[in-house]
Amino acid sequence: MNATESFSPTVLRSPQRALVQLNNVHLSFKENEVLKGIDVSVRQGQSVSIIGPSGSGKSTILRTITGLLRPQRGEIQVCGFPVHTLKSEKEFVELRKRVGFVFQQYNLFPHLSVLENLMISPVKVLGLSRQEAKERAFELLRNVHMEHKETAYPGELSGGQQQRVAIARALAMRPELILFDEVTSALDPEMVGEVLNVIRDLVRDGITCVLVTHEMRFAEEVSDVLYFTEAGHIVESGDPERIFRQPRNERTRVFLRRALGEAAPLAAPRSVQLG
């Protein structure tokens, strides 16, 4: 977990040690080429952040990792699954049991209570008894400071609360890896902290995670490796402290100056277009 020694391109690209390995991934929506040869590597226990301007392909990378999007070219290995070749529903289910996903817009199931949101997959997919699933759910709700809210419906909760429930819901599957897709971008500024605190705790506990984020300071603080994407390319990657202090690439420098330099990066207006 030591950030300074964990980064070295040769070590990162050794496939047997990586939980996630993307090699030369290309993906386009019709004419629009979103990913133009992406290489990403995440090892067990690592916390990896992807930063970059909106529309640079950050969220698309996460979606290819969990098989929600299929690349036209390239290889994706996740938890031992060759995601780029998976076909049957059964294989995808096996993959997604191991990979949690937290969305920008929370996407909780609005017709189910908080408790039922956390129980549905452990019961229906993992085959836990309702009692076991309930105990697991209560424990996770405590971890995200949402105890006493188990009977509430998502529509009755604030954005920050919904997002914490969404994180607990992903954790209820005991995933080997969890993907956070701009989880604070839809939140009011005063709720960002409570969600980041939950993620900070998870990272401290050693969970493997990939964060797509606009929270630069947070990315610098929690991640072992940072990737900077622009226009479908990975422009720079490595130790976050090093990148923040002295970025090698000119475009990284311009982006960071803009993101960090201007008064409050949290309040900076963002494009509606997702990365």
């Binding site: 996407n107 199931f109 997959s121």
Partner: protein, 273 residues
């Protein structure tokens, strides 16, 4: 303490005013009031008008007729819902041919006048089926059920398709990422949300179908309209005829109005969530 009490009293006052307002806008209450007034007048005059005594005599027949209408409407909705849900689901199937066929079915029956459909089903089907040596009767009222059911099925298919499509795709993505299978997503995530959205239009349709059952009398079903016609021909008094059809209006109103009110309430509740 004193101010407390006065506030409470004021609150009670407002409440009672609201209560009274609710009473005077409630059609049931107005009807009851009207009947009481009429009765008091008759008590004073000492005689009951002929049309009314006749209406009293024919009331059991009318009620039996109304029951036929209710039966037809319920069965037609059951049939329409069963077919409509299947066709609504098929209209989203990956097969283009299937989608086209369903589309055709829906368009044909949505654009068919209900009365024409009822005549059609009445004369297309025989009055009994011959199964080996048993004769199974195929009564007219059941043909009306089929006619109305076909019409309802096309509308319900559209309602169902719309409901499924109105569930944001993010719900699919979210459920997929929770490792649920397609069938599970449909059953536990999409369908429950659809039911909530479908209920108001479904109830609207039910009220509409109930009113359309009055057409059954035209193909010889002994429904409430048929009963009223027989009664009016028998009594042969203009004032009685006016009264009995007015009674029919009331019957339908008091059956359909609560459904419409409940629909509105459901819609309001839906807006909040």
């Amino acid at each position: 303490m004193a101010s407390d009490l006065s506030i409470k009293l004021a609150a009670a006052n407002v409440n009672s005013q609201r209560l009274a307002g609710a009473f005077f806008t409630d059609p049931w209450f107005i009807l009851l009031l009207g009947l009481m007034v009429v009765n008091v007048v008759w008590l004073a005059v000492g005689s009951v008008p002929v049309p009314l005594s006749q209406l009293w005599r024919w009331l059991p027949a009318l009620l039996r007729g109304m029951w036929t209408n209710i039966e037809i409407s319920i069965l037609a909705m059951l049939l329409g819902t069963a077919i409509g849900l299947v066709f609504g689901a098929l209209s989203l199937s990956p097969s283009r041919l299937l989608r086209r066929l369903v589309r055709g079915y829906v368009q044909v029956f949505r654009n068919a006048p209900v009365l024409v459909l009822i005549y059609f089903t009445t004369y297309v089907f025989p009055f009994e089926f011959n199964l080996f040596h048993w004769y199974i009767p195929f009564p007219d009222w059941f043909k009306v059920v089929i006619g109305l059911g076909l019409s309802a099925s096309a509308i319900i298919a559209e309602i169902f398709r719309g409901a499924i499509q109105s569930i944001p795709s993010a719900q699919w993505e979210s459920a997929q990422s929770m490792a649920l299978r397609r069938t599970q997503i449909f059953r536990y995530v999409i369908l429950p949300q659809c039911v909530r959205r479908m209920l108001p239009p479904w109830m609207n349709l039910y009220a509409g179908i109930t009113m359309s059952t009055s057409l059954a009398s035209l193909v010889g079903v002994h429904d409430i309209v048929d009963m009223a016609t027989i009664a009016s021909n028998t009594v042969a008094r203009t004032d009685f005829t006016v009264l009995i059809y007015f009674t029919l209006l009331l019957f339908f109103f008091f059956y359909c109005y609560p459904i419409a009110r409940a629909t509105r309430l459901l819609e309001k509740r839906h807006e909040r969530y």
